[in-house]
Amino acid sequence: MDEFLSYLALIKWGILAASFFALASSFLSPFIILNRNTLLPHVLTHLLLFPLLFLAILWPDGPQSLVLPLAVVLTLLLSLFIWFLKFKVYLFEDTSSSIVIHLSLALVLILAVKSSQYDYRLLTFLFGDVMLVDWQISFLSLVIFLATLLLVYKYKWKLFLSSLGWELPGLNLKVGNLYYLIFLTLQVVIGAKIVGVLLVSAFYVFCGILALKIAPNYRLVFLITPGLNFFSILGGMVLSYLMDIPFSAGTIIFMSLYLVPLFFIPRIRK
């Protein structure tokens, strides 16, 4: 028990930050799933690599408090390019995403080769490390969670209409959609820092799917998803300790258990 408590003490800021990220992501997760856009967070994590490397080369000693917001802005600009290709060049969204991702990764490769630089901070974004998370990241994660809560409270119905492509007369869904993209980018950047680029998008899929399946109504989706996401953090932490595996991987393994009822209970599967 003492050993587990000292493990907890070691990762306390990481767990706190991951919990706030899990709660924040759970409020956007239902919209992403209903919009059939579950790969969007994954796309954003790929786009994030270019700004991170670019900033690491341009500003090697830059403080996290400035590097992270800059990374958010650059990632957002790249993601807007997807929207440009989709709405102005009339490509499918997945085609547009694919083009921008490959362009971004090509730039990453060129930058890495030409600069002959290696920045250890990139690895912390790639795989995440709860042990490296400090109180500042936890605080940032809390702020993003609270801001997301406000966004969803204010735009809950408009985001829902937009995610299903429904329209009501005179309704402007563009502002809500822009906020949605900004907040998603914010979440992905902070989430990548905590649980890693490779696993961040899982927080938008597993719990949201089960919540949408079992919730008897729309409102309860926003109680069940955060509950499941938060529970995953606790489960992942225990699995990580018991099996001596990375925390983020343990969390995803734990989340995958949520899919079991979908396989075996027909009433839920329908």
């Binding site: 492509g165 429904w166 799917i209 109504n217 729309y218």
Partner: protein, 245 residues
Amino acid sequence: MKKIVEVINLNLFLNGQQILENINLSIEEGDFLAIIGPNGGGKTSLLKCVLGFLKASSGEINLFGKRLSNFKDWHKIGYVPQRSIDYYIKLNPLTVKEFLELPARVYRQKLDYHRLMDLIHLFGLRDLLSYKLSQLSFGQIQRAQIVQALSLSPEILFLDEPTVGLDFMNQKALYDLLNQFTLEGLTVVVVTHETWLLHKGIMKVACLNRRLYFHGKHEDFCALALSSPEMGISSDYHLISHSHW
């Protein structure tokens, strides 16, 4: 009669193609108007311009005497869109009750539950309120959409191809009901390409095929349709419509 909708010299270009050309149209209080025309004739585009979904390239639209850009009382307008496959997404968590309350929540309007319950009874949705939308049949969703559009007691109701997928009896029942609403003071605008469906209750007809070829009384249209088949309306229309009703 008060003009509820006024469209003046409206032009719409989409992707370099002219969809609507110099449209002038007015809808007065208590009208039961059918906007008809062939597929791709611009009927739904006109509706989308009026409802603020599409921005017109030029021209003016006034709603309840106000310019579209200044119009705020959108709860006065009910809208039944063409049915979308998205209603059937298995993951859609919305219950029928939540679906019916949706306009009140979005427009932040107080819902008259007494009136809503009357509509729910009228359209036979009482036992379905706790069902999810994904559990409903085609016809049930159509009824739910109409109740939703009427939930805030609008002054005008727009219906885009409301009879697609409905059997003959339900089509007739729907038009009878719309006629009844018109008699109670509601202004109704139906967009359809099924000209033979024109119900005897319909007062006015607007025939659209990029340009507005006709806008006037139903009986005048029937006479014109017979004598001018070049309008794009089958001359069989008159015979078919009157043999059905």
